[in-house]
Symmetry: none
Subunit: 301 residues, 2 copies
DNA sequence: GTCACCCATGAAAGATATTTTCGTTTCGGT
DNA sequence: ACCGAAACGAAAATATCTTTCATGGGTGAC
């Protein structure tokens, strides 16, 4: 019934390539070579033994096993099994649909199609990679918070505002901060039971980490929404929500896909909180809907 | 060395059960027990080692291997890989069945799955419904504009800011306005060759229509991004970009899907403009990337 | 610039899993 | 009951996977 999200979305397949991308930064060079080989040709690698794959990638067995571990499997044997599953799925028709990057001379219709496809992919990857336990914990914290501060800069700042707008609509007290100084100043006011959320794709944006650290020190429940689960920001985060990292191209900066991913996480948080606080959220939602409808009706023309 | 993968997964997926039936007569009793176990629960057996499967079926390792051979595999290892593939296929065959609305008592994992699915749907709808001619025209206007003003209120305001941020990154002059008065004040400054973009889901948000009207009257090229192609806002729009309108539910306000849809349109605009102005856009993108990299503390590997 | 330290890496030892061998058991036929 | 052939499993042999450990290269501190 409630089968794991991972399995719903392209199974290990979609999420494996995504996992490789997400984890690549925390991998050593040789491990990256292995990960690449695996993501590039799952079927081929499934036919190889540890030794074979080690030779293919010009590394050692130990490195292959290490990579398998990092990808979340207990050992190479299990990675191999997963690869076999993936290979079978690919074989069975569902083409991997390796879209080429958006090129400078692509006609506009292609641009639309490719962008839509890539963003869909991003959504699937994000959903697959999201830790529902962490998400649940964050939701619980939010639902019971006295107040919530959200930190984000640049593109992430917009996501922070989006979350804030939503939370306000269901009657929670939330503020978005994109000014680092004000953010810190406000973070000092937080206390246990409050929630602070930092949104940063790189996980290394000092201006966002700093207020989260302050909030953390103050005893507030802290949440990080980042694409790098091992980045500095997570060290002050009680709960880490991982967004997906897709390959960045010149015409499609990382900010673009990370935004899509972050927004999905934010939506999940919102809906989760709305569920938990349904009795108060529902009337609040209805009220704000009413108020807006009125505003539309009354406007001229 | 293991045999080629193609042979392992040869033939249609469910052929294993059939093969078991065909070969059953030529099997000994213990082998039949093994074959039955394998055909009955491929996924479960895939998780077992030879020894495990031998114990489960009350036989010996040798018998398991013999059965694997009879089924056409070079050994148990390969049978196991095939089983894993089969299990994966079975798994993915199960329809998502997440078409129902999000309910108050949905577990968090379902929420994630449903939200992701719905947003994917929204993207597909938007891409399908987008008029590429209109989009192309808007892109051309933007690429040649002296300056661009973007109007949006509430959730659409964030989308407006997103577009603005992007355009600024490729060296265009763009401003987002969410204050109706300031928006109008600025719209007055526009002249032919400039571009004004109004973003509103309902198409009836007076505060956004008004500045667009002013810009239109001033001779600027006007664009409307709206979910209602027949709404008031389009009357002052030279180009109308339609976003998709999905059904609204209590826990998932319209703002949520319209935002996804609007962002896709905005991304298309951005990439389109970046293509047209590639020679100046590429260096600008690289430069802003560089500048940001410095703001991030040394990223850990 | 030098030193000390840490971390990535692969070689090889150690542990598991798979395959093979071979002797025992079982069963049908005479 | 006896013989022979096939079925079967225990255990040896082999392949495969995992862990340990020594080495070298790079990095930061001084």
């Amino acid at each position: 019934m409630t089968q794991d999200v991972k399995e719903i979305f392209g199974g290990p397949g979609g999420s494996l390539a995504a996992k490789v991308r997400t984890l690549a930064p925390s991998m050593t060079r040789s491990m990256q070579r292995v990960a690449e080989a695996v993501a590039g040709d799952p079927a081929g690698c499934a036919a190889l033994t540890v030794t074979g794959l080690a030779e293919l990638t010009g590394t050692s067995e130990a490195t292959v096993v290490r990579t398998a571990r990092l990808l979340g499997y207990p050992g190479y044997r299990d990675l191999r099994l997963a690869l076999a599953g993936l290979a079978a799925q690919q074989q069975s028709g569902r083409a991997p649909a390796i879209t080429t990057d958006i090129a400078v001379d692509d006609p506009i219709a292609d641009v639309v199609a490719k962008l839509a496809y890539e963003e869909q992919q991003t959504l699937a990857d994000t959903a697959a990679g999201l830790d529902t336990a962490q998400l649940g914990a964050a939701v619980t914290a939010l639902a019971g918070a006295r107040r919530t501060d959200v930190y984000g800069i640049g593109a992430s700042g917009l996501v922070a505002q989006d979350l804030t707008q939503k939370l306000l609509r269901i009657g929670l007290i939330a503020h978005a901060h994109s000014d680092p100084h004000l953010a810190v100043t406000n973070a000092v006011q937080l206390r246990p039971g409050d929630v602070a959320i930092a949104i940063t794709h790189s996980g290394s944006t000092g201006d966002v980490i700093e207020p989260l650290r302050v909030a953390f020190d103050r005893g507030a429940t802290t949440v990080a929404i980042t694409g790098r689960p091992d980045s500095p920001v997570t060290q002050y985060a009680d709960h880490v929500l991982t967004t997906s990292t897709s390959r960045e191209t010149e015409l499609r900066p990382a900010a673009m896909s990370s935004r899509t991913s972050q927004l999905l996480v934010v939506d999940c948080l919102f809906v989760g909180v709305a569920q938990r606080t349904y009795d108060s959220a529902a009337p609040a939602l209805a009220a704000s809907y009413e108020a807006l409808a009125h505003r539309h009706r009354s406007t001229p023309r």
